[in-house]
Each structure stands twice: as C-alpha cells, then as structure tokens.
C-alpha cells in the first residue's frame, strides 16, 4: 500500500502541468461571474433536459461545470501515455520488472484524483463566494463523461504516440456532442442537458448513461495501458 501510494505520488508529479490549476481557477472564476451576473434573460439559454426537475441554480451550475470538467479531466490525464515518448523514457520504463500496463493504470488513477479535487474546488469555491444554494452532488455527475473523454484521449495518444492527437480526439468528440447531442455518442451522451431524443424514447436515463460512461472509461483506460505496454516493446 505504501509502495502504491509512493508510486501514485510520483505519477501525479509527472502528470501535473500548470494548465491544470489554471483551468480549474479559470472555471471557478467563470462560474462565479455567471452566477453573480446571471440575469433571468440568460437562464433560458441554460437548457437542460426538461425531464430533470432542477432548480434554475442547479441548471446554471451544472451547465458551467459540464463545460469545465471535461477540459480539466483531459488536461489531467490524456498525456499519461505520450509522456514517456516525449521524455524519451519509454524504453527505460519498458525494461522495468513492474507490470508495464500498471504505469498507465496508476497514472489514470492519479489524474482522475486530480480531476475530482479540481471539481471539489470549483463547486465549493463557487458556493462559498456566491452564497448561492445549489445541489452539491449533482455537479459531480459531470465526472463520468470527463473520465470517458480523458480515456479516449489516452487511447488515441497511446495508439498514435502523440499527445496532440489524443487531445484533438477527446476535445473533438466533446465539441461534437455539445453541438449535436447524442449524434456520435448515442447512449453514451455526455451532457446531462443533452439527453438525445433516441435515448429519451428508449427510456435511457441519466443513471444508466453515467454507469455506461464509467464502464466505457474503464475499458478505454485498460485498452490504452495495453497499447502502451505493447508499443514500448517496439521502440
């Protein structure tokens, strides 16, 4: 356990970039500004699934957090597989006796931990600063899609050995789903606001959708760790 924690700390250190706290601070600031200046006119823009019985405040926070969390998540994790390619250490890590896919599994864990902490910070800071009463747990439903997108970034960058490609894939899907909810993602739709009609008629609710996203993320992380360890063998 101690060894695992020591390794986790090292992986977090390797993954950490200043983009992460910057994105977190920026998101917090935007959320606070939106709440403080939010006039009744912009509230209809914050469309959410009408099936969800949410207060205006919840809708507003949800909307901002759903936009912020995937960016933070992708920034936190998606370079886990390309890190060693960029640093030139893939060969060294591959020559170590510890199970090579474990490197990516630990990095994903460390990255998701950082994402969760960022989200806690955003939500708590917004609540403390604005004093607005909103649900504290609902925003965390933005975690599964963020983790899923980060996992997609991991797989693509493990496959192409390029961080940029991973970022492009993850953020590309995110933008697609923002514009046309559910078009590419179907039952794996990312936004709570955007439950696509097909899922509504199929009765696919938010809860199974979030569970599916978590399972998908687990699969993507596992796939990327396998790709990473395979690619390590052939320089």
């Amino acid at each position: 356990m101690r060894t695992f924690l020591a390794l986790l700390a090292h992986e977090a250190r390797l993954l950490f970039t200043w983009a992460l706290p910057l994105a977190t601070a920026g998101s917090t600031l935007i959320l606070i500004l939106v709440i403080e200046t939010g006039s009744p006119e912009i509230l209809p823009l914050l469309k959410t699934d009408p099936g969800l019985a949410l207060s205006m405040a919840d809708r507003l926070v949800l909307r901002v957090v759903e936009l912020a969390a995937p960016i933070v998540g992708v920034l936190a994790v998606s370079h886990a597989t390309s890190l060693d390619v960029d640093a030139g250490t893939a060969e060294l890590v591959g020559s170590m006796p510890r199970w090579t896919p474990g490197v990516i599994l630990r990095r994903a864990a460390a990255g998701f931990l950082m994402l969760t902490l960022s989200l806690v910070f955003i939500v708590l800071a917004a609540r403390l600063v604005t004093g607005l009463e909103f649900s504290l747990d609902r925003p965390f439903l933005a975690l599964p899609p963020s983790v899923f997108l980060a996992g997609l970034g991991l797989v693509v960058s493990a496959w192409t050995r390029s961080h940029a490609a991973g970022l492009a894939a993850a953020l590309g899907l995110w933008v697609m789903d923002l514009i046309r909810p559910g078009m590419c993602t179907g039952p794996l739709y990312l936004f709570q606001a955007g439950r696509p009609p097909c899922c509504q008629t199929a009765g696919l609710d938010l809860c199974p959708n979030r569970l599916l996203l978590c399972a998908g993320a687990a699969f993507l992380v596992a796939l990327s760790s396998w790709l990473y360890s395979r690619r390590g063998l052939s320089r």
Binding site: L92, M96, P97
Partner: protein, 305 residues
Amino acid sequence: MNPRPEQDDTVEVVIDRVDKVYPGGVTALRGVSLRIGRGMFGLLGPNGAGKTTLMRLVAALERPTRGEVTVNGIPVTRRPSWVRGLLGYLPQDFRAYDKLTPREFLDYVALLKGLDDPRRRRREIELLLEQVGLGRSIRSRIGTFSGGMRQRLGIAQALLGGPPLLIVDEPTAGLDPEERIRFRNLLAELGLTRTIILSTHVVADVEHSCSELALLIGGRVAFRGTPDALISRAVGKVWEVEVDPGEADRVRATHRVVSSRAASGGGLALRVVGRDAPPGGARPVRPTLEDAYMVLVGEAVGFGK
C-alpha cells in the same frame, strides 16, 4: 516481488542462433550465438552492427525472429518480467523526466524495480548519487543537467537495486575522460560478482576492463574471445609506412589507415592495416586492440575505401 538472486549468484545469458529481422525488413542479427557468464563482456562493432538490438533482446524489449535467448536456462520471452527483475539496463539513448530532481527520478525507478522498503531505497539512492558524482546536484532538476550529468544519472539508475545482470549500451558516451575511467573501473569491480554486457565504441574501455568480447559486424559475430586473442589475429597485418602526401590515396585504396601524422621528412607517417604490406618500405608493428578491430572490419567489408 521478483526472485532476486544473491549477489554472487552468477547469471548466465545464452544467445542461441538468433536472427532478428525488424518489421521494415532490416536484418539486424544473423545467426548470433554467444554464451555470456560472470564478468565483463564487451560488445564492439561499427554503427548499425546490431549491438543495441542484441542488448534489447536480452532485456526482453524485443523478440528474436528466430533462435532463443535464455537467462539461467529460462527463455527471456517466456518470463520477461523475471528477467527484468535481475536486470539493470542503461539504454543507448538514455533520458529522464526533466522536471524531476535526480533523487525523485531514482526513487521512481527504484519503485518500478520493486525496491519496496523506503529506508533501503533512500540509503541506496544517496550512496549511488555520491558514487556517480551527483551528490551536489540533488536539488537541481534533471532538465538543467549537462549531457554527462544525465549519463551519470543513467548509470546510477542501472545500478539501483544491485542487479546481478547489467546491460549498459555505450555508457561512457559523453563522459569526460576522468569520469569515463572512473566508471570503467567501477564496472570492472562490479564485474567480479555480476554479469555485465557493455557495448562501446571506445576500444580502450574494452581493452582495459573486459575479459571477453565479441565483435559484431553486419549482424554476425566476427570474433569472440579475449582481447589478447583478438590482437593476435592482427599480427602481421599492421604496418607503419612513410609516404609523400600525394601517394597517401594509393595506400588507402588497398589498406585501412588507422592513424596518420606529419613525418619529420615532410611526408606522412601512416599506420595501416591490410592483408599484405603496402609498397614503399613499410615495417610491421605490434598491433593494438584498435588495430585488430580495424583488421577484422577490413576483412569483413574490404580493406580499400
């Protein structure tokens, strides 16, 4: 976590009729057979001869296309992580994470090597940093290191955990002469109880520290034996001859020039290797290991240019 033999447990590496063809179609090794036991084993050979490929096969980073590599009788491809548990490996193109300090980096590597006891880890890291002369740079980030400092860090990470099998690919590249000699001596000392495979282009390193060596040329083993045996292969094939500067090219057409310097009479004093004496009053000289290397390369690919 991994079976780790006592320090004096000898590791024997057997490479048995190994071919390696890369996916692109390049044949890097052809029918290589070697038996490598305790002590320091030198790998010499021109660029592209297959030295790194051979080392990566032993480190289970690559699979042979044909043949088999075994460590203590166990095929490397069957139990790669067991082999890696015995292994300290310095890649030819060693790099580390720039944002870490050397201590953090070595701690990470130690954890990946399965050194789970934090106190032992710390002790060993302090010792190694001193041993490779990085004791005073432990607070700097690796990104600020000079090339030689990085290489020393690479050496330190390979030695971490006292592995009974060390594979070091051009470890002294980029080191200053003093540090190179210091490291060479350190390796020779470690070689008393371990199996060390060293590849290098510095023939003097092999001459001074390896009891055995193999010369790879074009993916084949052109020679395997002691440095003295290699030298004796070159007896009668090394000459010194003085020529006019204009004639030097004629000698180069049939011989390999090991060195040339200005002679007192205004001509060029050449040290050459070849099958027969070059014309013009050449006198045979006693070969060095470097001469012998040139003779074998010349025999394999031709002496003339």
